[in-house]
């Protein structure tokens, strides 16, 4: 039997004194796809980076194990040998296409660099090769794109450029670290199709790292499930998905958001109504900054939310979902009438508006950014109460904080701890507690689950559903994840370019979408998961 292309044996990685990866072993043959799956922090990316020896040494160490690429040891290999391998024999695609491209270099230079270093191509030959590559990864008008800078490209195009860079020297192994996580669902699909197509054509091996089991199921020949820095199960694709052996694998597979929203009574009062909401950003040109046009982030949207009801707002990124949410809360300037419990938010005075904020709250997407790292959890939750209920005694305040924490399923004694000590899911619970403690009528949830792992997502969905039932909350649920929206929403608004493409009840939208755009979103959602 010939030696495998890549063989990782008992790999271990320490960061400082903290063991991060232990006993990771797998092999990868030419033309094969192996997927590493697991939740964030399970050591997938660290494993991938150790193959290229790209970890921050000497903070990171390998107390044991070996990584053999075509039979040659990579751990501790001299820098010269590593640079020969990197980018030439092994290509890598990173998760975040914006930060992995140098913002000051054109596309031509980004891709040309690796050709220059490894192949010693001159400008002319390199340009021909770059055009070929751009064509290969499906970028239209490659000649024009040569001179573009990363910020002039869309997310999908950037990821294609990244792939072109990784493929430039026809590597034997391509490592794709969450290649589609930062992209819209519809674009995810295209990129994945591109990757599997390229793998077949070029006969590469692919090491795919993902937390998304849908992607893995579609792409991988074999799957390795990682948890806490170890591989807990390794099996062929069909075996893993049909007969998962390890408990954790089963948990991962079961972690789909389930359930449907119960219908609400016809008599439920309207909490929030918005009529013809518009948010236009002026485009100014010339010396005198004349307004020549507008970017219509939100363009004439009508919306009603009733008590106990969830409205799902879906659409690709850039469709104006978040802007709509911020406009309804009057956190950004907008036009159009907004009524909260019959009070016109547009006409109330600034101080009155601050009083009304008690009834409408928001939970943001990124639980790491939405909590002030300098505040303890108790302070985070108390902040709103100090504004809206300044007369509470210290004991009452303490009791309210404790209740809020209990309600979102956290230990009330954790109030003196700081955000960095909590996981993403726990932080999102804290953000929900901060909103809930004011007893709002309306909660705007701006992608509250998209920064979280699948299994945590379903817990948050369950929590949100329970809270809604208990307090008859009205939710405006903004998401690009149609699976979660389906599990939570009563009605759905599909947005594109600031306008409503389609709206209706969950059943109607999912079973009888009338617009092609909606159909595409639904397909993409069920394809990827």
């Amino acid at each position: 039997m010939s030696t495998p292309l890549l063989e990782v044996r008992d790999l271990a990685v320490d960061f400082g004194d903290a063991p991060t990866v232990r006993d990771v072993s797998f092999t990868l043959d030419r033309g094969e796809t192996l997927a590493l799956v697991g939740e964030s922090g399970s050591g997938k990316s660290v494993t991938a980076l150790s193959i290229l020896q790209l970890l921050p040494y000497p903070t990171a160490r390998h107390p044991g194990g070996s990584i053999l690429f075509e039979g040659q040891e990579l751990i501790g290999a001299p820098e010269q040998r590593l640079t020969e391998v990197r980018g030439d024999r092994i290509g890598m695609i990173f998760q975040e296409p914006m930060t992995s491209l140098n913002p000051l270099h054109t596309v031509e230079r980004q891709i040309g660099e690796t050709l220059l270093i490894h192949r010693g191509m001159d400008t002319h030959a390199a340009r021909a090769r770059i055009l070929e590559l751009l064509d290969l990864v499906g970028i239209r008008n490659p000649e024009q794109r040569l001179r573009s800078y990363p910020h002039q490209l869309s997310g999908g195009q950037r990821q294609r450029v990244m792939i072109a860079m990784a493929l430039a020297n026809e590597p034997d192994l391509l490592i794709a670290d969450e290649p589609t996580t930062a992209l819209d669902v519809t674009i995810q699909q295209q990129i994945l199709e591109l990757l599997s197509d390229l793998r077949e054509r070029l006969g590469m091996a692919l090491l795919l790292i993902s937390h998304d089991l849908g992607i893995v199921r579609r792409m991988a020949d074999r799957v390795a499930v990682m948890q806490g820095g170890r591989i807990v199960e390794q099996a062929s694709n069909t075996d893993l998905f049909t007969q998962p052996q390890h408990l954790y694998t089963r948990e991962l597979l079961d972690a789909e958001p389930r359930g449907r929203q119960e219908p609400i009574p016809e008599t439920a009062p309207e909490v929030l109504t918005g009529r013809n909401i518009r948010v236009w950003f002026p485009i100014q040109r010339g010396l005198l900054r004349r307004t020549v046009g507008h970017i219509k982030a939100v363009d004439g949207i009508d919306i009603d939310v009733r008590a106990g009801e969830t409205i799902g707002v879906v659409g690709e990124s850039g469709s104006g979902k978040t802007t709509l949410g911020l406009a309804l809360l009057r956190l950004i300037d907008s036009q159009g009438a907004i009524h909260l419990d019959g009070e016109n938010l547009r006409q109330v005075h600034k101080t009155a508006l601050r009083r009304l904020r008690k009834s409408m709250q928001i939970v943001f997407q990124d639980p790491f950014a939405s909590l002030n790292p300098r505040f303890s959890i108790g302070q985070v939750i108390a902040e709103g109460l100090r504004v809206h209920a300044p007369n509470l005694t210290a004991a009452e305040l303490d009791a309210r904080i404790g209740n809020a924490l209990t309600e979102v399923g956290l230990d009330p004694d954790s109030r003196n701890r700081y955000p960095h000590e909590f996981s993403g899911g726990q932080r999102q619970r804290i953000a929900i507690a901060r909103a809930l403690v004011l007893e709002p009528r309306l909660l705007i949830l701006d992608e509250p689950t998209s920064a979280l792992d699948r299994s945590v997502q379903s817990q948050i969905v369950d929590l949100l559903r329970a809270l809604q039932r208990r307090h008859r909350l009205a939710y405006l649920f903004i998401s690009h994840d149609l699976k979660i929206v389906r599990a939570l929403a009563n009605r759905i608004i599909v947005m594109r370019d600031g306008q409503v493409v389609e709206q209706g009840s969950v059943e109607d939208i999912f079973t009888r979408p009338t617009q092609e755009y909606t159909q595409r979103l639904i397909n993409a959602a069920w394809f990827s998961a």
Binding site: R357, A369, R374, S376, V387, R417, E421, R434
Partner: protein, 375 residues
């Protein structure tokens, strides 16, 4: 190794004060203990050994110079005369108190007075340097400026005043001036930058144009012109230089506020109905403080340098004040007396170097990239 120094982030050890709720700005309980972030910064600061020792050395020099009257003075600290104790450093006594004839302030350096006290079974406890910065030594071996002797450790300047004494007082006035200027211009700069960055838009635009014009004013000429009209004093100079030095921090603070006002947690606070001022102070300001604290030691050095150069040019503190710049100018005018120039140079060099080292350590302490890499 750096990672070894990262302190434990044991959550249970972080105390926060009790939940007392009072006051106007809806204050949070003040934290008396360093939070984990600041603990780590403090350790980072200590990890820069050069900066850490520089801080100690500078603090020692500064504290010592604060008590300059006890180190270099033309009156004794303590006089015992006929069984009574006197404190000439703090109180003025007339000569008659010690058995003299005239109702004039006692001149303790006068052998006549020393005799009187000795006759009254008394003794005097002198500071190590028996000269005040104003004291003129009339008993010089050579014409002023005279070279270092056992009496005048660093020689005298061209008016016969002891250089060592003037140095100690000059150091104190330089540092005090620098600190005052730094503190005041930081406060004004942070406020101005905060308003610009937080509100943005037209406020920001107008403010920035104003600062650009303001920075275009030729400060030195203005100071020279004003110095010919009014006799500059410490407060005068401070105010005048403050007019132009507060813009130093505006840029960084403004940038931090511009960045931070769109943070999710700032949005969240706004959605909670928290007022602008509270948001600025509680959520955004701490972000800007990192940049401010990093800059402050460097503003301090530049303040000291500015004062020194004004003194050097003769537009600084009033004539006769102890000042390093004036000593430097004397050194330049009396090249035959190298102790003047060398002394001033060494003291300025050491002081500014120490401050730069402290500033470097502070910069390290606030550098998030130095805080170890998390897996």
């Amino acid at each position: 190794m750096k990672t070894d120094r990262v302190p434990s982030l044991d959550p249970t050890r972080v105390d926060i004060g009790s939940g007392v709720n009072s006051g106007l700005l809806i204050p949070f309980p003040v934290r008396y203990h360093l939070n984990p972030i600041n603990q780590r910064r403090w350790q980072q600061f200590q990890a820069n050994r050069r900066g850490w020792w520089s801080l100690w050395l500078f603090m020692m020099l500064f504290v010592a110079s604060l008590g300059a009257e006890l180190i270099a003075n033309d009156r004794p600290i303590l006089v015992s005369y006929q069984g009574d104790w006197y404190w000439p450093v703090f109180t003025d006594y007339s000569e008659t108190r010690f058995g003299g004839d005239l109702e004039i302030a006692a001149d303790y350096r006068d052998p006549y007075l020393a005799d009187l006290i000795r006759q009254g079974d008394g003794w005097m406890l002198w500071p190590p340097i028996r000269y005040h910065y104003k004291t003129i030594n009339y008993a010089l071996p050579t014409p002023a400026p005279s070279a270092p002797t056992a009496d005048n450790w660093l020689g005298t300047d061209d008016q016969g005043r002891d250089v060592a004494a003037r140095l100690i007082y000059g150091f104190r006035i330089s540092v005090l001036f620098g600190l005052a200027l730094t503190l005041l211009s930081s406060v004004i700069g942070v406020m101005a930058g905060a308003v610009q960055g937080f509100f943005g838009g037209i406020t920001d635009l107008l403010f920035q144009r104003f600062i650009e014009i303001w920075n275009g004013l030729p400060v030195l000429y203005l100071l020279i012109i004003l110095a010919s009209v009014v006799e500059p004093t410490f407060a005068w100079l401070l105010g005048l230089m403050l007019l132009f030095s507060w813009t130093a921090l505006v840029g960084v603070v403004r940038a931090e506020f511009l960045r931070a006002r769109n943070f999710d947690y700032v949005r969240a606070a706004r959605a909670l109905g928290v007022g602008d001022l509270t948001i600025m102070v509680r959520h955004v300001l701490p972000n800007a403080m990192v940049a401010t604290f990093t800059f402050m030691p460097f503003i301090l050095t530049s303040s000291i340098t500015t004062l020194t150069s004004l003194d050097f040019l003769g537009f600084g503190l009033p004539v006769g004040s102890p000042s390093l710049g004036e000593l430097l100018a004397q050194g330049k005018n009396n090249l035959q007396a190298p102790w003047l120039g060398i002394t001033a140079f060494v003291v300025l060099g050491v002081m500014l170097s120490l401050l730069i080292f402290v500033g470097e350590a502070a910069r390290d302490a606030f550098d998030p990239r130095k805080q170890g890499i998390k897996p």
